[in-house]
Symmetry: C2
Subunit: 214 residues, 2 copies
């Protein structure tokens, strides 16, 4: 039977495709930072491919009638999170200075990461933004600082910042955020395997990777 | 210097005291079940002594303006919890049938466990109640069933059920629940080390034990 060498079918014949794991994250989310800094190493070791899925949690919070993050709405939970993040980051050798104000506005960073997902630099960009956010209190809505992050990973910062204002990318982020709501995502990070199995929280990354390999 | 052989001071001289870990749990809480079934084995291995601290989450929920558990208030989070609990219990070889209705009323079980804490049977009683709750949908407010749990661990069920109606034990549970609020406990299970370091969630049990040993 004749086969088009350029077809997806053919490329699947060429090598066994890696199972995929969707990594849904929000730039303002502290626990997303924990996962972003390790997911590619963990996934490489497991033999799983990561799809970076930036989205915004704000619309979910609104759908629950909240005016902010649960870490702001619930004072005790917020204090605990800061302590827990401090312990976790110390154990992993990650910097941790709580962003002020909290939560940050992750809109522009998320749009840029979406562009990066198309071109393969979402991971590098995301890790650098998180590092600046949690080390130097970089403000996520500071476009100049975001442009510097792009430049630092070898990209044309101005060009991508301009792209991030395109109607197309705005719509894509809105759609991706709506998709998160439709998938029943209620927090970040969330990991979703092909087939839909869902894992919430950095603590579940290993389980999500194991499930993806099933 | 003369020493009373029965004094606490003397008994501390006799052997190095184990560090202690307070295990704050609620009988209606699914994730408390996960910890209750393993905490004594884990703590024994670590060389830590567990103090069973049953309390009620209802007053905390009320303080947040909620009418029920977050797993009821937030539909997506509730569905996810059931799936996550199913996976966790399967991995640990624990039975898991979601209690109906949810959440159960843990008042009487908590009062009885308080009595058990004084006499050293809180762990055995708690594990049996959880097992019945998550295997056979035992209703936590079914005093006959609770009495059968007491009998099954070799106690006089009727006598302890009668004790659980004493004003003293009612007050103690109210006080313990107020103490949980004062400690900033916002969910269960919560582990608190001597010195006050707080860990929330079954996923943090190992870290809590390690901290207790510091």
């Amino acid at each position: 039977m004749w086969r088009n060498p350029a077809s997806k079918c053919y490329s699947r014949d060429m090598s066994t495709p890696k199972p995929k794991l969707d990594f849904w994250y929000e730039f303002a989310s502290t626990y997303s930072y924990l996962s972003a800094m390790r997911i590619e190493d963990c996934a490489r070791e497991a033999g799983v491919e990561v799809r970076w899925r930036p989205f915004l949690l704000g619309p979910f919070f609104k759908s629950q009638g909240w005016t902010s993050s649960p870490f702001v709405e619930q004072k005790e939970k917020g204090s605990y999170m800061i302590r827990d993040m401090g312990r976790m980051c110390a154990a992993r050798g990650l910097p941790f200075k709580m962003p002020e104000p909290f939560p940050q506005n992750g809109l522009y960073a998320a749009r840029l990461a979406l562009l990066g997902e198309d071109e393969g630099w979402a991971g590098r960009f995301t890790r650098l933004v998180y590092t600046e956010e949690f080390t130097n209190n970089m403000q996520l809505d500071d476009k100049i600082a975001l442009g510097e992050c792009l430049t630092a990973i070898g990209l044309d910062g101005d060009a991508y910042l301009a792209c991030s204002e395109d109607a197309e990318i705005k719509t894509r982020l809105r759609d991706q955020t709506q998709q998160a709501l439709a998938l029943g995502i209620f927090g970040a990070p969330t990991f979703i395997c092909d087939g839909g199995e869902k894992f919430w929280g950095d603590d579940r990354l290993e389980q999500a990777l194991a499930w993806a390999l099933k």
